[in-house]
């Protein structure tokens, strides 16, 4: 099991003239709407607790205004909390002095922004070099690292271009290069792909997963798009009106939405790309004929194998190759479609 990297505990953020007093009301259970209407304070975040695992991608999802940007900005303390703790490797970021915090931002956590936030007066290479300049690295070292990262993010040949002359996808590649070049072990991505066209977005997700398989950073990835969350996240946390409503791995969120808000998010999802076959298998039987599939395999892939071979059953094996269960084609198909009581299945049938 991987280690704990970031721990957020009892985090509150209240915007307004007197957050210190307002937080008591929030703790006493006054609602977000009431805080706004009667007390002129915006509840940004309410009692957030979240543990993030080292070297994995933690997605934070929620509708616009649910507090995602506010939350991610507490990790590098671009926003000061009203109450609570943010620990990185056991060290409380909120307690850091100015110098320590600056050092933390320079070397430990870098950030990618929704609207890129590139420096328009700097070339691609100079933008990628930004964090290194801030670190005070020597020129030779900066140049060497920049060259390497520009190749890695696929912008070789564009070094001398200005960001204003590049497409959105390329600009965000620069943003990612700028963030990776500092060698920080934490990468904060606030809706990094939301401003991009769907096709480009898909490519960027692939590129990110590709980079991650090699770099093993701890990534906090904000999105409002469930498909993106499911594709990218090792773990997903869902925010609503500043409160955490559910957290868990992608499959548990799709299979067991905690409330209507989450259920609404997951209702249109392609379940076959999320659910693993081990989740739906039956106990093993000795006489099962058919292909062997790994328990970690997604239903989509299992279905492809089974229909390809025209098999009615498949044997499911665990990590060390032992048979742990079996599934029928009907099981797989049945789990791919939504529950029968789902109201818009009925509407679609009419």
């Amino acid at each position: 099991m991987a280690d704990l990297k970031i721990r957020i505990e009892g985090l509150y953020k209240i915007f307004g003239p007197n957050p210190g007093a307002a937080i008591e009301l929030v703790r006493d259970g006054v609602s977000k709407q009431e805080m706004l209407d009667a007390h002129d304070h915006v509840v940004g975040l309410k009692d957030i607790n979240l543990d993030m695992t080292d070297q994995s991608i933690q997605v934070v999802m929620g509708l616009s205004g649910s507090g995602k940007s506010t939350l991610i900005r507490h990790i590098n303390r671009l926003i000061e909390p009203t109450a609570g703790r943010v620990q990185v490797d056991g060290r409380d970021v909120i307690e850091m002095s100015k110098d320590e915090l600056r050092d933390f931002r320079r070397h430990r956590a870098s950030m990618v922004f929704q609207r890129f936030a590139l420096m328009p007066h700097r070339t691609v290479a100079q933008n990628v070099a930004f964090g290194l300049n801030i670190q005070g690295l020597e020129r030779g070292e900066v140049d060497a690292r920049v060259t390497r990262w520009i190749e890695r993010i696929g912008l070789g040949g564009y070094e001398a271009h200005y960001p204003g002359h590049l497409s959105g996808g390329m600009q965000q590649r620069v943003g990612i290069g700028r963030a990776l070049a500092t060698d920080a072990d934490i990468l904060l991505m606030d809706e990094a792909f939301s401003a991009l066209d769907p096709l480009i977005r898909y490519d960027m997700q692939s590129a990110l997963l590709d980079l991650q398989s090699e770099l093993k950073k701890t990534i906090v990835f904000i999105t409002h798009d469930l498909d993106e969350a499911l594709r990218i996240g090792d773990s997903i946390a869902i925010l609503r009106d500043g409160e955490m409503v559910q957290q868990g791995d992608p499959q548990s969120i799709v299979l067991n939405p905690a409330d209507d808000y989450v259920a609404d998010f997951v209702k249109d999802i392609n379940r076959s790309k999320v659910i693993k076959v081990a989740t739906i298998m039956r106990p093993p039987a000795n006489d099962t004929e058919g292909p062997t599939v790994d328990g970690e395999m997604l239903l989509e892939d299992v279905a492809r194998i089974m229909t390809g071979e025209g098999a009615g059953w498949a044997r499911v094996v665990g990590g060390s190759g032992e048979v742990v269960g079996r599934v029928s084609t009907a099981d797989v198909m049945g789990s791919m479609v939504r529950q029968a009581n789902d109201d818009d299945t009925v509407q679609a049938a009419q």
Binding site: R102, H107, P120, H121, G131, I134, G168
Partner: protein, 297 residues
């Protein structure tokens, strides 16, 4: 009817006279006491101005033209401007105004440099603090609307007639645009870009020199351009307190009704203004080329 309803309730003459006298004497006392020190303070400026003026006047005319053209090329990369500059300078020399033009160029350059050196930091301070902005703004308004002659009086009382008071008068008149536009330019810098600088751990100084000032540069240059134009507009008034250059023949022409002399020198000032204006604008535009269009979807 009480008298204060019919006649304005004003200070009586004696009090008013006393007041004026008192203030004037206090100021005279101040300038007697500290005049020498204050003059000494401005000595390096005077030294530089004299050195630069001599340099321009003593250098052969074609060296000056080549030098100016090299500078214009470095700043603007524009052939058209260079041709314009050469023609303007040749005509100025041809009509016998070379020396005065060099003097004027020297003083305008020095005044512009002083305005930038003082004005940009003031503008930066203003952009950083609303309180500073609230204090400085009205002062700038007064500086720009107060007739130049009024603040010439204390300057001349303090420093007498000459180059330094001339520079001070010109700078007071011409510095507000640099200050205003530096303030504006820095305040307009994209908040998200600043947040990115913070997120990467930039110190306040790094943030200023690596992000804010470069991004505000086109706006600051627009201020510099206006400052140069205003400095040129002060040439004639500066001549009244002993600043040499194209202003003096213009003054002479007013008293002696020499229409042609006035016109020629006036045209030389206009030519200088056009050159300075085009060069600083073209430079600003060249810097701006990459700014602006950042979002392409």
């Amino acid at each position: 009817m009480p008298s204060w309803l019919t006649d304005f309730p004003q200070l009586d003459r004696a009090t008013l006279v006393d007041l004026r006298r008192g203030l004037d004497q206090a100021y005279r006392g101040f300038s007697r006491e500290f005049g020498a020190e204050i003059e000494a303070f401005f000595d390096p400026l005077l030294f530089f101005l004299v050195w630069f003026e001599r340099l321009l006047i003593n250098a052969p005319w074609w060296v000056v033209i080549i030098g100016v053209c090299a500078l214009v090329w470095a700043l603007t990369r524009s052939w058209k401007l260079i041709i314009g500059v050469v023609i303007a300078f040749l005509l100025i020399g041809f009509f016998g105004m070379w020396k005065d033009t060099m003097s004027t160029m020297a003083i305008i350059t020095v005044c512009t440099l002083v305005s930038i050196v003082l004005g940009v930091p003031i503008g930066i301070l203003m952009a950083r603090s609303n309180r500073v902005q609230m204090v400085v703004m009205p002062i700038l308004d007064v500086m720009q609307t107060m007739p130049a002659f009024v603040y010439l009086i204390p300057v001349v009382m303090l420093l007498g007639i000459g180059k330094v008071p001339g520079v001070i008068a010109v700078v007071i008149y011409a510095i507000p645009p640099v200050i205003r536009l530096t303030n504006l330019g820095i305040r307009l810098v994209d908040r998200e870009v600043l947040e990115a600088a913070d997120a990467f751990g930039a110190s306040p100084w790094q943030r200023l020199v690596r992000v804010q000032v470069p991004l505000a540069m086109p706006t600051i240059m627009a201020g510099v351009n206006q400052t140069i134009m205003m400095a040129l507009a002060m040439v004639v008034i500066a001549a009244m307190i002993g600043v040499k250059g194209l202003g003096q023949p213009v003054l002479q022409s007013i008293t002696n009704q020499y229409f042609t002399q006035g016109l020629l020198n006036g045209l030389a000032i206009v030519a200088l203004a056009i050159v300075f204006d085009r060069v600083s604008q073209a430079y600003g535009k060249r810097m701006q080329k990459h700014h602006g269009g950042t979002v392409h979807g």
